[in-house]
């Protein structure tokens, strides 16, 4: 690992001042992504600003809303009784992520800022427009079984890795960002950027800004919401396909569902077409659900090895919706 300068920030103001004062500075919280990518040379900040002791770790969740500080640890948020009870899709997405050790380290803000696990991004020996803009994309014609079928461009097809972000996009969550000019709110679904011809720009975070809080209002169906994650092994793995389903089904009829997919898109993929098709369907009617699921993942453009994700995603959607609607 190359040498790097290090300083600590006791609060958000100090972190933002330090980010403004240093060129090529990067925030360090749980370290689970930053330390890994620093070690293998994928990122090369000159200064690390350690915010792991910044006390933005509060968690509030109940019937009305959910809020977590940007520095709250994944494990603490997942285990919070209000999150488990009223926003189970968040608890499930968190506990199906990584391992117990990593969840004890990683923060909510860090989770949302994590970089892709595209194997070509990880390996400085390959072309990657995200790591080295203009160098090309080794994934498009490479081994792309794990890559995106939606939201890609000729420059990048890397999937977004966060399970939490998929659950939060389904809940219409909002980020509170703080920067030199003060605080601002941004919808999480507007935060992430499609790669286009600038895949190195992944989100709307401006220079010297940081995530200080994440919040969501209760949605009908949130207390029964479900996160279904399909992996290539039973645990401790990134999603091949995942579905966050927030389903309100009074009398068994689906009303205003909220659906987001992970593992298929270059950003967490909210699927309004699927929501529309599911509306009015009887949740227990598997055939009708299966037929409605054909509307999901519209516009998918599979690569050589990942065409199976479209069918897998639609099947996962049916199961996730039934679990969220209480159909067993």
């Amino acid at each position: 690992m190359r040498e790097v300068a290090y300083l600590t920030a006791p609060d958000a103001d100090a972190a933002i001042a330090a980010l403004s004062a240093h060129d090529n500075a990067m925030l360090l919280a749980g370290g689970t992504n930053v330390v890994d990518y620093l070690r293998i040379g994928v990122i090369s900040p000159s200064v690390l600003i350690d915010i792991s002791a910044v006390p933005l770790t509060g968690i509030q969740a109940g019937e009305e809303s959910f809020t977590a500080g940007g520095l709250a640890r994944m494990s603490d948020v997942a285990a919070h009784p209000g999150v488990r009870g009223f926003f189970p899709v968040v608890s499930q997405a968190l506990e199906l992520s990584a391992s117990a050790q990593l969840r004890n380290m990683a923060t909510m803000g860090g989770n949302l800022m994590q970089r892709t696990r595209c194997g070509y991004f990880r390996e400085p020996g390959f072309a990657c427009n995200k790591r080295n803009p203009g160098s090309g994309c080794a994934a498009r014609d490479g081994l792309n079984r794990w890559h995106a079928v939606l939201g890609g461009s000729s420059h990048c097809v890397a999937t977004h890795a966060s399970d939490l972000a998929v659950a939060l996009v389904a809940l219409d969550a909002t980020l509170e960002l703080q920067g030199p000019a003060g605080a601002r709110m941004v919808a999480l679904s507007d935060f992430y950027r499609l790669p286009g011809d600038t895949p190195q720009l992944e989100n709307d975070l401006q220079p010297a800004e940081m995530i200080v809080a994440i919040s969501a209002a209760a949605a009908p169906g949130a207390p029964g919401s479900h996160y279904l994650k399909v992996r290539e092994r039973a645990s401790y793995e990134f999603a091949v396909v995942s579905v966050a389903a927030v389903v309100h089904a009074p009398g068994g009829i689906i009303e205003a569902p909220r659906i987001a997919f992970g593992g298929v898109g270059t950003v967490p993929w909210r699927d309004h077409a699927a929501e529309q098709a599911l509306t009015g369907v009887v949740a227990a009617d598997s055939a009708a659900l299966r037929s409605a699921a054909e509307a999901a993942l519209a516009g998918a453009e599979p690569l050589t090895h990942n065409g199976f994700k479209v069918e897998l995603g639609r099947r996962a959607l049916v199961r996730a919706v039934q679990l969220a609607a209480g159909v067993r």
Partner: protein
């Protein structure tokens, strides 16, 4: 640039000078010669370097030593504080054949002890899920599961009968 770090390792206060890039894992092994904590993948994928920091199980390979300022670190060497007497989890791993080559074992044991403290020692499926961050390439998983259940079911453990 070097940084002074005060940290308590296995109950012993230490004051160390470290570079920011030094991982807790490397400092434990190379500086303090606590080589019980193993370096497996060095990228957060195997769990061999699991230690307790501030009472929680974490990966020492993805923790910078400089981030442990003022914290308590416990490694496999500090688990049994009774001289030659093993910690009950260590004894259970021996009795249940919870290892073969032994390389992942310190991490497995540190994770297993934390798992019971966290209250995740209920069903076999729950134990397997909450131990999934510790890989064993010899495949000693059945013995590891049996060892954890032995300790869980021993008299006085809060998870008994869950």
């Amino acid at each position: 640039m070097h940084h002074r770090v005060k940290v308590v390792v296995n109950g012993v206060p230490r004051e160390l000078t470290v570079e920011a890039r030094a991982s807790l894992l490397d400092v434990l092994r190379e500086r303090l010669r606590l080589t019980g904590t193993k370096k497996g993948c060095n990228q957060g994928a195997c769990g061999a370097c699991t230690v307790h920091v501030g009472g929680r199980r974490v990966l020492a390979c993805l923790t910078l030593a400089v981030q442990c300022q003022g914290k308590e670190v416990v490694t496999i060497e500090g688990l049994a504080d009774m001289g030659e007497t093993l910690h009950p989890m260590q004894a259970a791993f021996v009795a249940a054949d919870g290892f073969q080559c032994g390389y992942c074992t310190p991490g497995q044991i540190m994770s297993a002890v934390a798992l019971l403290t966290e209250g995740h020692g209920g069903s076999d499926a729950e134990i397997r899920e909450w131990m999934s961050g510790n890989l064993c390439r010899c495949g000693a998983y059945n013995g590891i599961l049996a060892a954890i259940k032995t300790v869980r079911d021993a008299a006085g453990h809060p998870d008994r009968g869950r």
